[in-house]
């Protein structure tokens, strides 16, 4: 799945930046420092916005394109922030044959965002994930730690509404 670059404004704090600088300093002279620094940067910011990738490139003295190349290669790295509620739709084989593709489409429609994106109000983000090991409940999605199984697309608006009000 192609990653979506967030269009939301960068909201990093000076504290986060100080932490990132510490991380860069720690790994500066390690060969292949880009990956561990990206991991820790994602822990700090929750995702990897342009500004953060540029700081990493500058700090490690590598081309920003190299940082971006690594960030887009590994699925663990996110270029878009996670919302207050992260909705994860399982596209593993069992869920997929039971129609989780339609679930994802319905969510896209309801939320007005594509997979790997976050709503402008920061409330919801949408992820397509691999098998989460709940095949008996297929098709499955999770909202943060809540699991919804044997889903039909008609249930989607209600579920979203529940979190909007929460």
């Amino acid at each position: 799945m192609l990653k979506k670059i967030s269009s939301l404004p960068f909201q990093g704090t000076p504290e986060q930046e100080a932490k990132l600088k510490e991380v860069i300093e720690k790994h500066k002279d390690d060969p292949g420092a880009v990956m561990p620094v990206l991991q820790e940067a994602q822990d700090i910011y929750g995702y990897l916005p342009i500004e953060v990738q540029q700081m990493i490139a500058e700090g490690l003295n590598v081309p920003v394109d190299e940082v971006y190349g690594v960030a887009t290669f590994y699925s663990q790295f996110a270029l878009s922030p996670k919302g207050k509620y992260n909705i994860s739709v399982c596209l593993g084989t069992a869920c997929y044959v039971k129609g989780s593709g339609n679930v994802l489409n319905k969510l896209t429609e309801e939320l007005g965002i594509d997979a790997e994106e976050c709503t402008a109000d920061g409330l919801f983000s949408l992820t397509a994930c691999r098998c989460i090991g709940a095949c008996g409940l297929a098709p499955v999605m999770t909202v943060n730690d809540d699991v919804y199984g044997r889903l039909t697309i008609d249930e989607i608006p209600g579920i979203i509404k529940k979190y909007k009000g929460a």
Binding site: L2, K3, I5, I50, Q53, Q54, A57, V62, P63, V64, D65, E66, V67, Y68, G69, T72, F73, Y74, S75
Partner: protein, 581 residues
């Protein structure tokens, strides 16, 4: 040195231990196909075209990175299995390739196309999903068409080798593409326009912006007076586009071809190079005598200048204020020549033929040109000129020799060697030494600054003054020297920097030689040799001896560094941002 006895295709050979299969085979006259391999800079074994069989190995091996390290190694390069394997690899590459060969600028000079022919592929063997990319036309100098990209990463290696690194592989698997960070177009990142990516691309994924249609249009317009001038290195490379050996000097045929194409005047940028030396030499002497910023760094190479602006903006005061030879020539055509010929400069179209794609950017820079007119209107590469000659049906190799038109048609040997790394330095020293001593010195070969080494240093005694110089080509090498200057650790007075490795003879606009030639032939040295021979054979070997240069100062500019010279021949630079612009 340990030697090993090996067998290739059943025949006995002896090779040095750890020679790769590819190198060994080349040595013994066996050609192994490659697509991704570029000696020293892209040895990644990724494209799988060079697969060979080593007896006892579990699977086929990549010849480009497989070192022969055992006595008695038996290698096969041409079995039915290997041929079938390579053919399938090509067919898989074609399954996600636009296959529009008929209109491709690299048709006839495409490494993928050549191999497909050699292996007799079926281009429809694997039909399935194809990715579609929009062309990136955001820069003035090149076009990226990822629909033709085979992901060999040669361009990425070339860009990294230049210490620019604005392109790389992004995304993963079927979605992998070569592009810039955050999917920005090339025009929005700190690309220096050197075009080294275009000369290493095996396909038509990276090509120069083609400006030949504008040139043909200008020539066909009866109200326009179209003047062309050709850079020093073009004479040493243009022949390659017509199958002539690398390093053939084709000055005479080139001039004939330009006249046949219908240009109204054909001038030599060597004249502009000589003019640059007059101005730059004078600037250097003034900086030394008046306590100006030293070391002074040459400014002929627009890729280097842009690199300095993006990556070393703090060193801009070190850049000579002289325009490049291209720009000086253009400026003089639209002033001095226009006046002499009695033509309104607005009716003149100046076309430059350059070894360079960054020149397409340079002609549109700020603080060049005058009265809203550019110094040069159109800049085309060696490759584009060859294309025009072919389109016009001119049989290049059969042409008689002709001579440049007078007024700006004489260039000295000093001008001609501008095309090779070290040439500008040597040319400047020839003039500076004469000016400072007031003599006509006979010892004018500054051999220490010649050759294809990336960084050269020398110290000369010039009129009792010690001048320490450095010459670098390739931005990776430039960065080494610039870091020293930045740290205050360099004691040079004068530095020549050329953006492209080896200088203009290996510029981003030069004829494209396929990987199997680039990897085993020193293009830079062969092409440069033609220029140094030209230097030896020319009647004038110092810029200030060039009679047309003398005339332009006597009749028009006054003295080097005069007010008018400054107005027409000098420029300024701007600090630019790194990464995103």
């Amino acid at each position: 040195m340990e030697m090993l006895n090996i067998k290739i295709n059943g025949r006995d050979y002896t090779v040095e231990k750890n020679t790769t299969i590819l190198e060994a085979c080349h040595k013994f006259g066996i050609k192994i196909p490659t697509l991704c391999y570029l000696k020293d800079i892209n040895e990644i074994g990724a494209c799988r075209m060079c697969l060979c069989e080593v007896k006892g190995a579990r699977s086929l091996v990549a010849a480009c990175v497989y070192p022969i390290d055992r006595e008695g190694t038996e290698i096969f390069t041409n079995t039915p299995q290997i041929r079938e394997n390579r053919k399938t690899t090509l067919e898989l590459l074609l399954s996600n390739h636009d296959k529009k060969c008929l209109s491709c600028p690299r048709s006839d000079n495409c490494e993928l196309q050549t191999l497909c022919l050699e292996y007799g592929v079926d281009e429809q063997k694997f039909v399935g999903a194809e990715t579609h990319y929009d062309e990136d036309v955001s820069t003035l100098h090149l076009v990226r068409n990822n629909n033709k990209c085979i992901l060999c990463r040669r361009c990425v290696a070339a860009c990294n080798e230049q210490f620019v690194g604005v392109i790389g592989a992004i995304n993963r698997g079927f979605d992998t593409a070569i592009g810039c960070a955050f999917d920005k177009p090339l025009g929005e990142v700190s690309c220096v326009s050197c075009g080294q990516c275009t000369v290493v691309c095996p396909t038509g994924a990276l090509v120069e912006k083609d400006n030949t249609a504008e040139v043909f249009k200008a020539i066909a317009d009866p109200t326009k007076h179209v003047v062309v001038h050709t850079a020093p290195s073009i004479r040493a490379t243009l022949g390659e586009c017509f199958g002539m050996p690398i390093g053939t000097n084709v000055t005479g045929k080139m001039v004939s071809a330009l006249k046949l194409l219908g240009f109204d005047k054909v001038f030599d940028t060597n004249f502009g190079a000589d003019l640059t030396i007059m101005e730059e030499g004078t600037e250097f002497i003034q900086r030394v005598q008046n306590g100006g910023v030293l070391p002074m760094i040459t400014s002929c190479s627009p890729g280097w200048v842009k690199f300095c602006e993006h990556y070393y903006p703090d060193l801009i005061p070190h850049l000579s204020t002289c325009k490049s030879p291209q720009q000086m020539q253009g400026a003089m055509i639209k002033s001095y020549y226009a006046e002499k010929a009695g033509i309104d400069p607005k009716d003149i179209v100046v076309v430059s033929v350059m070894p360079c794609v960054a020149k397409k950017f340079e002609i549109k820079r700020d603080d060049q040109g005058r009265d809203g007119m550019q110094d040069n209107d159109i800049s085309i590469t060696t490759r584009e000129l060859a294309k025009m000659i072919k389109t016009a049906g001119i049989q290049f190799t059969d042409l008689p020799d002709d001579q440049f038109d007078s007024l700006m048609g004489i260039g000295s040997g000093a001008g001609t060697i501008f095309g090779a790394t070290g040439g500008v330095m040597e040319a400047a020293l020839r003039t500076v030494a004469d000016v400072l001593t007031g003599e006509d010195l006979k010892q004018i070969d500054y051999k220490e600054v010649r050759g294809t080494d990336g960084i050269k240093e020398a110290t000369y005694e010039v009129a009792g003054m010690t001048v320490k110089v450095a010459v670098c080509s390739g931005l990776k090498n430039a960065a080494v020297v610039l870091d020293k200057v930045r740290a205050g650790e360099a004691d040079y007075q004068f530095i020549e920097i050329m953006c492209c490795p080896g200088g203009c003879v290996n510029g981003g606009g030069q004829p494209i030689q396929p990987g199997h030639v680039r990897n085993f032939v020193d293009l830079k040295a062969l092409r440069a040799k033609a220029l140094y021979e030209d230097d030896l054979n020319l009647p004038y070997r110092k810029s200030h001896d060039n009679p047309e240069i003398k005339a332009i100062y006597d009749e028009y500019l006054g003295k080097p560094g005069s007010h008018l010279a400054h107005e027409l021949l000098h420029t300024s630079y701007v600090a630019r941002k790194k990464n995103f612009v």
